[in-house]
């Protein structure tokens, strides 16, 4: 006997109960705490903060736990939470020049004031599985907590700018910055909005796009002028006070890529800057962002727009993984009404095609 599928409520409740059970896993093993995730899966937490567009390590860790380690799902949870928060005045621009640097490298100079600071990095590690960690042995720890260096560290882009070789960014007009979360993106999008969009964009998508610019899809010749990671102070200026007060420190990763620009009749040949800034420690993201930022400047610089990474609409409308996962995954939703009409349409076209093939006059229909 045929029974139409019904009882959605019960099915959903059962599925969610099962999900909760799966999330917990084997109860013989201790449950993970959000604090453990924050401490021991810190880079996952940073990625979720960046793509969730919300600086809160504890909530990002909670989101990861709740999402069973699905980082896009976790970014989604955090983004959804963020939208419930009241928006305070815009913060002052963070001064990354005054960063308490934990890591700072330049690929363009062998040495420079402040030096190269490797910091905590996977670079130069051999990617061999460390079976000691599997045995739950403690890896040997750094002899002492590496302290952020106090030496002044001028930005490498400034060193080039002093020689007049760096394109000067057009000064701001003092108007409050546009806010991606309040108004939809206009096209062409100004750089401030492009950067906001890239900063919350999917790391994998930006990575692929940035990579494509290195492989000839977009005319990039990038150098990492500087990559720095550390703590910066967040300041706001409440209108009632009229002077900035500190909200505390956050960790950010900043990447400045320099790229050659051929120049135009009115502009000398010079270096241009691709800029990447990301919450937490996320170098891949900051670098990919800087590559894509530079590619998206093609239009402003009068360069030919030929590659996907240079196409504003293509990049900005597809970089958001919360949007993308929503739309891709919505294909799982029932579509049987649309599909039914599609089915009927196909049958009808098919009948006409078969009639034409067999030489039956259409009037026979």
């Amino acid at each position: 006997m045929y029974v139409a599928v019904k009882g959605g409520d019960a099915a959903i409740a059962a599925a969610h109960a099962w999900l909760a059970e799966q999330r917990r896993g084997d109860k013989a093993l201790p449950e993970l705490s959000a604090a453990q995730l924050q401490e021991q899966l810190g880079l996952a937490v940073d990625r979720v903060m960046a793509e969730g567009s919300c600086h809160d390590r504890e909530l990002a860790a909670l989101a990861i736990k709740q999402a069973r380690g699905d980082l896009i799902e976790a970014a989604f949870l955090l983004r959804a939470y963020r939208n419930t928060l009241t928006r305070f005045p815009a913060a002052e621009p963070v001064d990354t020049g005054a960063m308490r640097v934990r890591r700072r490298i330049s690929a363009t100079y062998k040495d420079m004031p402040g030096g190269q600071v490797l910091g905590p990095t996977f670079d130069y590690t051999h990617r061999l599985l460390d079976f000691a960690l599997l045995a739950e042995g403690e890896a040997p720890l750094a002899p002492e907590e590496a302290e952020a260096t106090g030496a002044p560290m001028p930005r490498v882009s400034e060193i080039l700018a002093q020689e007049g070789l760096m394109r000067r960014e057009p000064p701001g007009d003092g108007a409050p910055p546009p806010d991606l979360t309040r108004d939809p993106l206009p096209f062409p999008a100004p750089r401030a909005l492009r950067l906001q969009s890239l900063a919350r964009g999917d790391e994998g998508f930006l990575l692929g796009l940035g990579y494509s610019t290195q492989r000839g899809y977009g005319n990039a010749h990038p150098f990492v002028a500087e990559l720095r990671m550390g703590e910066v102070e967040v300041l706001i200026t409440p209108p009632e006070l009229g002077f900035p007060i500190s909200l505390g420190e956050i960790t950010v990763t900043e990447c400045q890529m320099v790229n050659q620009f051929a120049g135009r009749a009115d502009t000398p040949p010079q270096f241009t800057r691709g800029y990447g800034l990301s919450l937490g420690h996320s170098e891949r993201k900051a670098m990919a962002m800087a590559l894509v930022d530079r590619a998206l400047m093609a239009r402003d610089l009068g360069e030919e727009v030929t590659a996907p990474a240079q196409d504003q609409e293509f990049v900005l409308l597809h970089a958001d993984n919360v949007e993308a996962t929503g739309f891709v995954e919505h294909l799982k939703l029932p579509h049987h009404v649309d599909f039914q009409s599609e089915l009927e349409k196909l049958r009808s076209i098919r009948a006409r095609w078969e009639a034409a093939r067999d030489g039956v006059p259409e009037a026979a229909e």
């Binding site: 100079y109 062998k110 670079d123 590690t125 990617r127 060193i159 290195q214 005319n219």
Partner: protein, 282 residues
């Protein structure tokens, strides 16, 4: 001592054989890119996996290995790769160009003239010399088959017309044995002439792009140029602050944030040798 958990030089023997067969064909067809089944390596793509796979396939217990990055033995990536081979192959390592039988390099050719007993292994990020002009691999493969390099010539011509000089400061493409256009890897143009009729064998490995190519010893290697605009290698017009060399390729070092600069040899071994010779002469 070698790490007992891994085969000598890390790669398994079947992988080495595959790479070795590709290397022999690469040598027989100078400058032609040969696709090979590049493996995942314990270092990330773009950090020298192609060079490492080539080195791992040719390296033997009698070899002495030198690894440089940007000309220097003490740069972090060079140190890392040297350690890797010391760990997985237990071979002798050196910083002296003269003592090395295999020199794996990123972005430089040593200043000291190479000899017949030496093999250079270049780490190559983008093996295709035409990729900025034509990113599609199926198309560039066709152009190489036809020997049609008009795209590159037109680009060079346009650069000359616009900037008064042609070509790239680094990765400037070369014609090998009058047949194939080849990327010399991102070495400065200054090093391009060292590829021409070198006594040493030059092997190129691109891991991420999965290509191997080679320049045999004593092979014609000519930088792409025009008769009326010959290729001109450039170096910073200074003497090395450490050894006084006026002929070596120099690194520019920023000494303060008020425009202070100094210049020193990029080839650290060459610089040290010069300094030693100077001391001995005093």
């Amino acid at each position: 001592m070698t790490d007992p958990g891994y085969n000598f030089a890390y790669l398994d023997e079947a992988t080495k054989r595959m790479i070795r067969r590709a290397l022999l064909k690469a040598i027989a067809i100078p400058g032609h890119q040969i696709p090979f089944g590049a493996r995942e390596m314990p270092l990330p793509y773009g950090w020298g996996t192609g060079g490492i796979q080539v080195t791992a396939s040719i390296l033997g217990p009698d070899d002495t290995l030198k690894v440089i990055d940007q000309g220097a033995d003490d740069t972090t990536n060079a140190v890392s790769i040297r350690r890797f081979f010391h760990r997985v192959a237990g071979v002798q390592v050196t910083t002296r160009t003269a003592e090395a039988t295999i020199i794996q390099t990123r972005h430089r050719i040593p200043e000291r003239p190479l000899t017949e007993g030496q093999v250079m292994v270049f780490q190559v990020p983008m093996p295709e010399p035409l990729f900025k002009l034509e990113p599609r691999l199926a198309e560039t493969r066709r152009l190489h088959a036809l020997g049609d390099y008009s795209l590159a010539q037109v680009k060079l011509y346009e650069d000359i017309a616009r900037q008064g000089e042609g070509g790239s400061a680094y990765s400037h493409p070369v014609m090998v044995n009058h047949r194939y256009l080849m990327s010399p890897s991102p070495i400065p143009g200054f090093d391009n002439p060292k590829l021409h009729m070198s006594p040493a064998l030059m092997l190129f490995g691109a891991g991420r792009e999965k290509k191997i190519y080679a320049v045999p010893p004593y092979t014609s290697v000519v930088s792409l140029d025009f008769d009326d605009h010959p290729f001109r290698p450039v170096r910073a017009p200074h003497a090395c602050a450490a050894c006084g060399s006026t002929t070596s390729y120099l690194d520019e070092i920023v000494t303060d944030d008020r425009g202070g600069r100094m210049f020193v040899c990029s080839d650290t071994d060459h610089c040290a040798e010069n300094q030693m010779a100077r001391k001995a002469a005093e």
